[in-house]
Amino acid sequence: MMRPKFDAKTLWMIRKEVREVFRSRWLILGFIISPMFAWMFQGAFLSFIVGQTSEEPEQVYITIEDDGIWARTLYEEIYANRSTLLIDPLVNITLEEGQQLVADKTISVWVLIPENFTQELNATTKSTLQIVVNTASFRATATASRIDTFAKRVINAAIVIRDLQVNWYTISPEANYGHQLAIFLVMLTSVLAPAPYISKSFAGEREAKTLEALLVVPMSRVKILGSKLVAGLALTAIYSLFTAVGILTYNLSIILRVGNLAPELQQANINRYTVNAYTIPLIMFCQFLLLLCAIGIGVVISCLAKDRATAESVNSMIMLIPTFVIGILGFTGSLLQYGGVLLWIILAIPFSHAVLFLNAVLAGTGTLMGLSINVGYMIGFTVVFLFIGAKLFEREAIIS
């Protein structure tokens, strides 16, 4: 198979494909609405859930490893303000018990006042409190957020300027802050969005009998395929652009939602729930890769399908089943919590890597190695499927 070169004929072909695509107003509208819907719905859903659940008390475990004044003060203040902090009950447990609960993933919120907490605070004016939270639970996350803000206020209430650093340790790091819904919707809309274009561009051309005349022009089939893919990339660019618009709209909805909270809680909630501006390009990039994967799979299906309706139906079925499986597993917490054959099946599905990537980016827990593996897998998967698609496109049967 020859590598396509962007000569004048290829550029001409790209121009024709892009112009045709951009005349499909409903297709373009779908690529604008889908990403914005995903994020705006996430904003509305999150506001609704937080509004519904944060008023309910949550069971909180606490472990005090330090017997100094500041540890006692902090514990007593939390205990005395249980009703304000919506904690019920506050359960004292040992370090070992807490660690076991974390290992069992049966804990909602666990506050750990570590050893030497008071000593460090007195010596350096800085100390660290640890909060372990199951971020898959909106209510637990909201409770942890209140404890975080409250603990800092208690410590800093002293005349001496002190600084309490609160470390959050999430039980399900990829399920942070309830972003699973956005991730699920992003994944769902991303894998389904290219289907109409791809099925129209390949199976649709077969059905409309335009492919035969196109394949007689003096261009290699790889270039024809490549030109169609470039038009697909133009669509994915629109999708990515409006993903950014959707995220910004989502952030705005969070800012508006916290407007009626106490001032000290406003910034904490904004920091917690909004998507960091620095991560937006990464999200757009991931979505772009996800769309490419979907296009790769779509090309293979469309080259095999006899008509557009079949291509779209098969495409939807093949895309929806793994997307729903991965999406629903994502709601239960970490995709990596599953073991054995199931884990390998999960990891074989490219959309899982998009979920892992997005979770890691949104939770700020991603490592370069982990993200690179996710990106590499999605790119590799796309390349393999495009290669298969190119081979299928070169068959004689493509015109029959």
């Binding site: 004048a8 004929k9 001409w12 072909m13 121009r15 024709k16 112009r19 045709e20 005349r23 499909s24 051309e205 409309a208 009998k209 335009t210 492919l211 035969e212 005349a213 394949l215 007689v216 022009v217 003096p218 261009m219 004689e396 015109i399």
Partner: protein, 260 residues
């Protein structure tokens, strides 16, 4: 292979077999030997499934021969297809059209694939749209066109690249009587004035008699007769080409003559 100077299409023992599963084969072309000369209008006749479209598809490189050789403009279709495609045009039997493009864009975009400058393409499109009577509709998206109007756009599209050889698979199907007349006149002009080679398939034997210098009759993938319409009528002592055709493909023989 030796060529006479003015032969532009030559096949020798051309065979195309489609494998349908592991046990079934369909012989679409069976040992076809054919020569077509430059400037000829050659009509391919045959019933549905006789192999006309398969033959054209092999000659434009859409299908690879199973056996035998096919040469277009002196080049082997399996080796020099890019050279051939630069110089031939195809109007497929069920040619579709890009509905979201205008009539003019359909012509200009198609021509662009052949590396013809846009300015030149626009001039040619002006002329062709005028000839086929669609100049006043040139900026309309063709999705609103009737079947006949679309067919006219497609004929114009096949001609916009000014090919040396034009393959037309049932060019007047679906066009009204007047439209078909326009297309036929256009093909006559291309043949007589510009000496372009035209290979067309059709079921309209009057069209064949009017347009074609020579015809070839395909039946079950075999080329069972070739020659000028008048020669075939004389050879088989038939009153017209329809009698020749019917007698040969049904195997009933031709009045006064005999099947080969």
């Amino acid at each position: 292979m030796a060529f006479e100077e003015d032969v532009v299409i030559k096949t020798e023992g051309l065979t195309k077999i489609f494998e349908k599963g592991k046990k079934r084969q369909v012989i679409a072309l069976d040992n076809v030997d054919l020569e077509i000369k430059r400037g000829e209008v050659f009509g391919l006749l045959g019933t549905n499934g006789a192999g006309k479209t398969t033959l054209i598809r092999v000659l434009v490189g859409l299908l690879t021969p199973t056996e035998g050789k096919a040469f277009v403009l002196g080049r082997d279709v399996t080796e020099d297809i890019d050279y051939i495609r630069d110089r031939v045009s195809l109007l497929p039997q069920e040619a579709g059209i890009y509905d979201r493009l205008t009539a003019r864009e359909n012509l200009v975009y198609y021509g662009g694939f052949y590396g013809i400058p846009e300015e030149e393409l626009n001039k040619r499109a002006d002329k062709l749209l005028e000839i086929v009577g669609l100049k006043d509709k040139e900026h309309y998206q063709v999705k609103g066109f009737s079947g006949g109007m679309k067919r006219k756009v497609l004929v114009a599209r096949a001609l916009v690249i000014e090919p040396e050889i034009i393959f037309l698979d049932e060019p007047t199907t679906g066009i009204d009587t007047l439209g078909a007349r326009v297309v036929r006149n256009l093909l006559k002009m291309l043949s007589s004035e510009q000496k372009r080679t035209i290979i067309l398939t059709t079921h309209d034997l009057n069209e064949v008699s009017e347009l074609c210098d020579r015809v070839g009759i395909l039946n079950d993938g075999k080329l069972i007769a070739t020659g000028k319409p008048s020669q075939l009528e004389e050879k088989f002592r038939a009153a017209n080409l329809e009698e020749v055709f019917t007698g040969l493909v049904t195997g009933e023989g031709v009045y006064g003559g005999s099947t080969p």
